[in-house]
Symmetry: C2
Subunit: 276 residues, 2 copies
């Protein structure tokens, strides 16, 4: 890695920074690909965020920003343009400066999830899907599934209001989409997604009763603390094909890189260079 | 080099960035020394600078800032504390955040120059010195020579007002120092310094008539485009010991590193790892 006066930077903004993974993946990739760019971890608390974001985008060598906790939601209100997926998610995790100087934000969690499905041969178009959890990542995945053309979407959240609010946001952008709320029966689904944090801790219950889960359902996970969560293990026992949580991460990085105007590697190329 | 969520950053702020050298020296040194820190080039124009500086120092992982053109002078007015060398120079090239949150600035061009003299066995204390050029770097060198205890200081500038103004700033901090202005006779000097840009271009005249320069005078240079400028070549022909321009650069980096709270390498260790 050679950092010099021609290096372009991608600000990785969040707080705390200790668990940041993006610098460990992007920077080795930039070095390998001969791209003179650098993901720079920037620890920023909520009270300092709005002026920092503006200042960072005043730099002549800024290429974009990766936004993480606790700023994903507040960023929506700080930009000139928020793309539909981020509007539905109510959160932004990538910002770029357009040629006319306006700041534009998008959300790539859902895009990464759907890219992973397709790479595994599962085409969401026309399928019925159940998304468990209507928080940030669940909303992002629901938005991307809607964009991908699912025929029907079921939303479940322990807080029914969150699921209803997500349904409303989806229908603003996809008025013809069939969206039902708080039917958590997995029978007959094309796709089942855990977008709750359940599975982070060993003592967590499963996010759903899997007794009626059939072998034809593709099962995806967002928890990436371990590859095979208890939920995915249960799904595999049922004969289901599955997608692990970190696939969403490695699938979305090429989407970010394209958003920032770089040519994109494959997720496998990223996994090969990523540092632990 | 491993950049992760524990990496501390040193913002290198200026515009344009293309000629930045610090990232090419500091970052290989940090990598070699196992220090998890990163000099990040940040291109910032004058109109964006004040809010950028504030924002950068709101970051939780900021360790300091290196300030270069066109911001060295304006930084003086943006800080809570400016150390004497920077006050005399009228310019700041390093900023750190103190434990109480205040921003403190200093100027290390002169410090680097004097460290280089001492490493070559020339002790400025008690000497008479002539500094050619009363701009930013000349002022910084004059301030550091005053701090080092020179007995007499002669200042020369094609603009006599600049030399007189530097004399006034010096006397505010060193009221007993013997400072004369616009006597450019090099005869009998202990130290002669070119702190003008003359020597950057092959067609430049020498900064001074060297016919009365004696072999006992130590001669220093700030131009670093080539090691042996015509001025230094003329001094060597007179039998003088000399210091090349880039010695000032490599001697000042350990001073910056100490200012930012790192343990410091030797200039030779830096030269060995520096990228071109």
């Amino acid at each position: 890695m050679r950092i010099d006066g021609h290096t372009e930077i991608i600000a990785h903004i969040g707080y705390p920074t200790h668990a940041f993974r993006a610098p460990l993946i992007y920077n080795p990739w930039f070095a390998k690909a001969g791209i003179n760019a650098l993901v720079v971890p920037m620890g920023c608390q909520a009270s300092d965020y709005a002026p920092l974001l503006r200042a960072v985008f005043s730099l002549s060598n800024i290429r974009g920003a990766l936004i993480t906790m606790p700023h994903k939601v507040s960023t929506v209100g700080l930009l000139d343009e928020v793309l539909p997926g981020a509007q539905i998610a109510g959160a932004v995790n990538a910002v770029r400066r357009l040629a006319d100087g306006r700041l534009q934000g998008d959300m790539f969690d859902g895009e990464g999830f759907v890219r992973g499905l397709r790479r595994k041969g599962f085409e969401p178009k026309g399928q019925s899907a159940l998304v468990l959890g209507a928080g940030g990542v669940g909303s992002a995945i629901a938005a991307s599934l809607a964009a991908a053309g699912v025929a029907a979407l079921k939303l479940f959240d322990l807080n029914p209001q969150a699921a209803h609010a997500l349904r409303s946001r989806l229908l603003q952008h996809y008025p013809d989409l069939k969206v039902s709320v708080n039917d958590a029966d997995p029978a007959g689904l094309g796709l089942l997604v855990n977008a709750t944090p359940l599975g982070m801790n060993a003592s967590d219950p499963l996010p759903i009763d899997v007794s009626r889960l059939g072998a034809d359902t593709f099962v995806g996970e967002v928890v990436m603390k371990v590859d095979m969560t208890p939920f995915l293990k249960a799904a595999v026992q049922k004969g289901c094909r599955v997608q692990i949580g970190s696939d969403m991460l490695f699938e979305q990085i090429p989407a970010y890189l394209e958003f920032f105007g770089f040519s994109a590697p494959t997720p496998d190329e990223l996994r090969q260079v990523a540092l632990r």
